[in-house]
Assembly symmetry: C2
Homo-oligomer: 138 residues x 2
DNA sequence: CCGTATCCCGAGCGATACTG
DNA sequence: CAGTATCGCTCGGGATACGG
């Protein structure tokens, strides 16, 4: 059985104007609005292996700025995807841990990685063909 | 068995600097960069039910502008997710159809919708708690 | 009917410097 | 160590008007 249209009912949490029949699209957007940021997934992956400290993330993510690391961590924490534990020591120590629902999300993302791995060459080919047919570099 | 770190090998198609151990993050980003746009999913959903015409999409998506509809259609076509068929009639008629790999992607997205449906209340609660604890509206 | 062309704005992100 | 503050830019996206 393919995807059943209408199996997803409502779209109440969003402020986006999705008409009926587009409930699924809306639901997906919900997720994308939360982990669609440039660094969210990377942080989630790192934190899914166990508690991670701020500076460790800064090293592991490579390319991220202090600012974006902080911002993304805050957003993930706000959405209940990360738990932030502060040790009142000196120097300070903060650990970030993926919450259970983040781990579930992580699992769900596997479907996407699988798709990407199966078709990324096809996508690349399609791009090449398209750019060939139209104006590649003019 | 939970997600096995390292089961996804390389990240060759991207131009983003993902260090080793972040291959999964990179792969997911690949997908997000393609369907992460504001309207991509909606169009994909509509086109997955069968061929759709331009104006029909314009009505079904509700809120989308002509410009963004065209742009998003072009991107999806370029990535091989949509097939564009032009009937040389007058007035012109154009049909967009989801390709097989788009349908597979659509299936993969079900995992995300499932996650969203299971936890969107938890996320909302987390947000509320966070905003409560910090400065909601001050 | 199916687009393109232009203008404009705000969010997202990067760089840099400062702090408890 | 783990942040905050400020600036500035790029780019996605909205509004509007025009064209084949």
């Amino acid at each position: 059985m393919p995807v059943t249209p209408g199996s997803l009912t409502r779209c109440e949490a969003g402020d986006q104007p999705f008409p009926p029949g587009q409930a699924k699209a809306c639901t997906v957007r919900e997720v994308l609005d939360r982990v669609g940021g440039k660094w969210s997934i990377g942080i989630l992956v790192a934190a899914s292996q166990g508690p991670v400290r701020f500076t460790e993330l800064e090293r592991r993510i490579e390319g991220i700025s202090r600012r974006m690391l902080t911002l993304t961590l805050r957003n993930l924490e706000r959405d209940g995807l990360l738990h932030r534990r502060v040790y009142p020591t000196v120097p300070p120590k903060v650990e970030y841990t993926a919450t259970p629902i983040a781990l579930e999300l992580y699992e769900s993302l596997v479907a996407l990685t699988s798709w990407a791995e199966r078709h990324h060459t096809a996508v690349a080919d399609a791009r090449g063909a398209y750019d060939q047919a139209h104006g590649t570099a003019d």
